[in-house]
């Protein structure tokens, strides 16, 4: 969930409680206010009625509430003395203008007593009040309305203000997503006045710097190690070559020497490939030349045609168009040669290699083992599918490394029982 939505979610929940509590408090305070004002009105009525009653010669009792909304009854002295003014919430039968028959309506009632001509009277005055249900209903709708307005404005404000506030963060995040450790470009500074973001940026900068340093040290180590190994390997290998030329070796000795020699040979290849890989990854691009891949492919086929013939592998080239890109010459050569050698070597007898070239791609498909290779692993270092093979398992890793420095897409797929490697060059 995005930060923006998350904050809206929490605010919505919190506001729900706040608004609900506020509504309850508001309801009671409103009710009190209404009652207070009605009570004052009743008091005022009381005084008017009593004054009017006292001025009359004969006091007429009035047992029913009619349109004057009060009753007047005689009561005995004892009851009168113990009586106090009372305000009551009650209901009486009343007929409003819109009611067909009298209904019970909520009223506020003042019950009071007074003395006139040595008689005691009880006066009840009523004043209709709004129904509480109606009040609650009205309040509820208003509260819901308020809540919706609040949420909408929060979404609006969040979208507007928060997005603006977090803008540097998102810019920074976007940069981090695109960041590659082998790309020597440092993160560009995101302009912000917010301390937290400044801290974040500084921390991340320090962290990436540390990673880059570690990465470089590791690369350097691989290169140096491979480098330093070259001379000792050369010495050992050459010693055996010299030893072979001595005539007094027994068959057993030769056998063991041959095996040792082959191991050294493998070590040499491994080491050379590792050196090449680390060199490619250090992006030592020397010179960019216009490379015509059609020519390069044909030249490589010519170079390997006897081997293909020997392995009874037919090579067919379909040139839909010419493919020309700027590239380091030796890298382009290694790229094409490795793919081609791979296709020849892992082929079957009477197999076929189909090469397709157009303006944006070079694809090489070959017959071979009828089993799909693992897409995720095929370009990994030291990935071997044949345990008997003396291959270093670095050939395709080198292809991948070269492809990635030139940002070419390389795909592998298995289709119609053919292994296909496709190099996509993108638009020129």
């Amino acid at each position: 969930m995005k930060l923006l939505n998350q904050s809206i979610k929490y605010l919505a929940i919190a506001l729900l409680f706040v608004v609900a509590l506020w509504a309850i408090a508001f309801y009671f305070s409103m009710l009190n206010q209404i009652k207070d004002s009605i009570d004052e009105e009743l008091e005022h009525q009381k005084r008017l009625i009593i004054r009017n009653t006292l001025s009359d010669a004969i006091i007429a009792t009035k047992p029913d509430f009619d349109e004057n909304l009060y009753t007047l009854e005689r009561i005995n002295k004892r009851a009168a003395i113990s009586a106090k003014d009372q305000y009551l919430d009650t209901e009486i039968l009343m007929q409003d203008a819109d009611d067909p028959i009298p209904e019970l309506e909520p009223v506020r009632m003042l019950v009071t007593v007074f003395r006139a001509n040595n008689s005691y009277y009880q006066l009840k005055i009523v004043n209709p009040i709004i129904e509480q249900n109606d009040l609650i209903k009205a309040l509820l709708w208003n509260v819901i309305g308020l809540y919706i307005i609040l949420i909408l404005s929060i979404i609006f404000i969040n979208n507007f203000i928060l997005k603006k506030l977090w803008q540097p963060f998102y810019t920074f995040l976007e940069q981090l997503k695109l960041y590659k450790i082998d790309d020597s470009k440092p993160l560009s500074e995101t302009k912000t006045n917010i301390q937290e973001f400044k801290d974040l940026q500084q921390t991340v900068d320090e962290m990436t710097q540390r990673s880059v340093n570690a990465y470089n040290r590791q690369k350097e180590f691989t290169e140096n190690a491979a480098h330093e190994l070259q001379t000792p390997i050369a010495i050992a290998r050459n010693k055996i070559e010299l030893l072979f030329e001595e005539n007094n070796l027994t068959e057993n000795q030769v056998q063991k020497l041959t095996e040792t020699y082959q191991v050294l040979q493998r070590l040499t290849k491994l080491n050379k490939s590792l050196l090449l890989l680390s060199k490619i990854e250090n992006i030592q691009i020397m010179e960019e030349l216009e490379i015509n891949f059609n020519e390069l492919v044909k030249q490589n086929i010519k170079e390997l045609e006897e081997i293909a013939l020997f392995k009874k592998v037919e090579i067919v080239v379909a040139e839909k168009d010419s493919l020309v890109r700027k590239m380091d010459k030796s890298y382009a050569q290694i790229l094409v040669a490795n793919l081609l050698k791979n296709a020849i070597y892992h082929n079957i007898e009477n197999g076929k290699i189909e090469i397709l070239i157009d303006t944006q791609q070079l694809s090489i498909s070959n017959t071979g083992n009828e089993e799909k290779l693992d897409n995720d692993k095929i370009f990994n270092r030291f990935q071997k599918y044949n345990s008997f093979s003396n291959s270093t398992g670095l050939g395709l890793a080198i292809v991948k490394a070269i492809a990635s420095i030139y940002r070419l897409e390389i795909n592998y797929y298995f289709q119609d029982k053919k292994h296909c490697f496709q190099l996509k060059f993108g638009k020129q």
């Binding site: 480098h227 070259q230 001379t231 390997i233 050369a234 010495i235 290998r237 050459n238 010693k239 070559e241 010299l242 072979f244 030329e245 070796l249 068959e251 030769v254 020497l257 041959t258 020699y261 082959q262 040979q265 493998r266 040499t268 290849k269 050379k272 490939s273 050196l275 090449l276 060199k279 030592q284 020397m286 010519k302 170079e303 045609e305 006897e306 081997i307 020997f310 392995k311 030796s330 290694i334 040669a337 490795n338 050698k341 791979n342 070597y345 093979s389 003396n390 291959s391 270093t392 398992g393 670095l394 050939g395 080198i398």
Partner: protein, 225 residues
């Protein structure tokens, strides 16, 4: 024939020396910068093998000094650094060839001979051994003055053998030579075997005075019949 080998690694130096001496080449050695530059400038050599990284200085500086006295045309750089930078700089300074460590002695041998041949028989691209004549420019093989057709790889293999006459060439060195650089699959010997078989047959059919012998099953050797 005299060759100066400038190399600071003693063991490697001994290997090179021993291998070249088998070719009846006189080998002088230098193991650090000052001796090397002294020898290189004072004496004339048919070929100079030059390591780039030396105690007390760089092989590149020796090359620069040699260039001043116009003596760079027979220099082969041998370096552990397979960097295009050094290669280009070396060749720009007039070095004749560039060999990356580790190399096969047969390869070094072939390169040294090519340099000497170019220097001593300027522009001569013909390798003559008994009745066999190989033109490396025209890519033509003549035996008893008769043209013998070879395919590309057979030609490459034969020229490698001719430059290493009587020397054992391990199968893996041949495989590497045939499959090329940075190849993942160089230890596939079937193809080598097949090519050698064809070559032998062609040499035999044309009554060449040389033949290719298998040695212990680990390699081959070109010998006179």
């Amino acid at each position: 024939m005299k060759v100066l080998v400038i190399e600071d690694e003693e063991q490697l130096l001994n290997n090179i020396k021993e291998s070249l001496e088998k070719e009846k080449i006189l080998v002088e050695t230098a193991m650090e910068f000052n001796t090397a530059i002294e020898k290189a400038l004072i004496y004339d050599y048919d070929c100079i093998l030059l390591d780039i990284m030396l105690p007390n200085g760089s092989g590149i500086d020796i090359l620069k000094e040699l260039k001043k006295s116009n003596k760079t045309d027979n220099v082969i750089i041998i370096s552990a650094k397979d960097s295009l930078d050094d290669k280009l700089l070396g060749l720009e300074l007039g070095a004749d060839d560039y060999l990356t460590k580790p190399f096969h002695l047969a390869e070094l041998n072939a390169r040294v001979k090519a340099v000497i041949r170019r220097k001593n028989f300027s522009g001569n691209h013909i390798l003559d051994i008994l009745n066999v004549s190989l033109n490396t420019n025209e890519r033509e093989l003549k035996i008893n003055n008769e043209l013998v057709h070879l395919n590309r790889k057979e030609f490459d293999i034969l020229s490698y053998f001719l430059m290493n006459k009587n020397r054992l060439i391990p199968k893996s060195a041949l495989a590497e030579y045939v499959w090329g650089d940075h190849s993942d699959e160089a230890d596939n010997f079937d193809f080598i075997y097949y090519q050698i078989k064809n070559l032998r047959k062609k040499l035999n059919d044309a009554k060449a005075d040389v033949t290719i012998e298998a040695v212990y099953g680990m390699g081959y050797k070109l010998t006179e019949t």
